[in-house]
Symmetry: C2
Subunit: 235 residues, 2 copies
């Protein structure tokens, strides 16, 4: 992916983005989430950006490459955050709460609800193997933190049910369906304010945390401020 266009643009900039590839990704994000992946052509994407189809192919050889780039954007920030939090000096309950807060905020604040594309049958092909691997790695971080949090909560280590340890990841990804419902007018949007904190709390509650959460919430905020420069509300 380069930013140097082969030809001058047909028109002035129409889409948000610093570079032509970013504008292409933004237009594709809108079309894939509102019209569908199968129903969107590279021609239509190029039209929305205001470039020739040949210029689009200069940056992305086909529609699958655009989708792959968009999907990787939904996972890689949370994966990087998980890697930083894994090494942080804090209880696993606090680190899990921080990761869930970061991830829900990020899934909710991006311009298009790209997570809604996760269930597309088209994602089964080899081209999306890197995305699947990244998402599996992220899920692994959640599980490891959940296992450790369970040990902290129950005082017993070992033999956690894998389905139980998978609950936080599932609860975090439920933010995708909720966002879709809000965007379709099926839920009032203001309801979702503070959802990141609520879902992060639910991750710990689902694992069996029964004490008040105020202290964990404060430590989770502090940990995010330290490792991420705050929650990623600027995304």
């Amino acid at each position: 992916m380069t930013t140097g266009p082969g030809r001058p643009r047909l028109t002035s900039q129409r889409r948000p983005g610093q570079t032509t590839p970013e504008e292409i990704l933004d237009a594709a994000g809108e079309l894939f989430t509102t019209k569908g992946f199968a129903a969107t052509s590279t021609r239509r994407i190029a039209e929305m950006v205001g470039i020739r189809q040949a210029s689009l192919y200069h940056h992305f050889p086909n529609k699958e490459e655009i989708l792959a780039a968009l999907l990787e954007e939904t996972v890689s920030p949370a994966l990087a955050a998980a890697e930083r939090l894994t090494g942080a000096d804090a209880p696993a309950t606090v680190r899990l709460h921080a990761l869930a807060t970061y991830d829900v905020t990020q899934l909710t604040a991006t311009r298009w609800n790209l997570g809604a594309l996760y269930l597309l049958p088209e994602l089964l092909t080899d081209r999306f193997e890197p995305f699947r691997t990244q998402r599996t790695l992220l899920r692994g971080h959640y599980r490891q933190l959940a296992d450790r949090a369970l040990t902290e909560i129950t005082g017993e280590s070992g033999s956690t049910s894998p389905a139980l340890a998978d609950l936080p990841f599932r609860i975090v990804e439920s933010a995708i369906a909720t966002r879709a419902d809000i965007e379709r007018g099926l839920l009032p949007g203001p309801e979702n304010e503070g959802a990141a904190g609520l879902l992060a709390d639910a991750c710990l509650r689902a694992l069996g945390w029964t004490d008040p959460l105020d202290e964990i919430r404060a430590k989770s905020r502090a940990l995010l401020a330290e490792t991420e420069g705050g929650t990623p509300l600027h995304l």
Copy 2:
């Protein structure tokens, strides 16, 4: 929708189902979930059933009608169960646990993972208004039970956060994404055994239930046996 075919079948029966419409729904369920809705033609559905395209149109005027019928099947059994449970003489915590168990079992045990179609942009059209209404009604039942369960848990009534009361519905629907991950080989299938009970437990934990769950689980099972003739494992 009638079962009387306009012409004799081309071949012997190829799909599960007692009637031609059921066979059409089964073939469409497979194609929509594995190839995609946009990528599936009524011609291909008819081929898989072994009938002429004209016979398919005798039962369903277009592809949207087939999808609408499939989607309604994903919600209507849980909605009927919710209506029966609303009138049942049991604490809201027990009724919520029973509804979640029933619903996850049903979402998990159907032949095709049709919930994976919920996020399709095609669902925004008027044709799917009845499905959207049914799903909103089901969500309303979850919220009402969650509100009452919260009152039982905290001893305080009124002013529940709507996002908190929505958590059980979100947790139950997370079964759809998990099933998709298992079917794609991203999660081991045996992990999901007992998921209905685990997710039902998580619904109560997320609302702040901190006591052991054994008694609620036993009462939830008894309530389902009484109102539903047992959990719907036969689906």
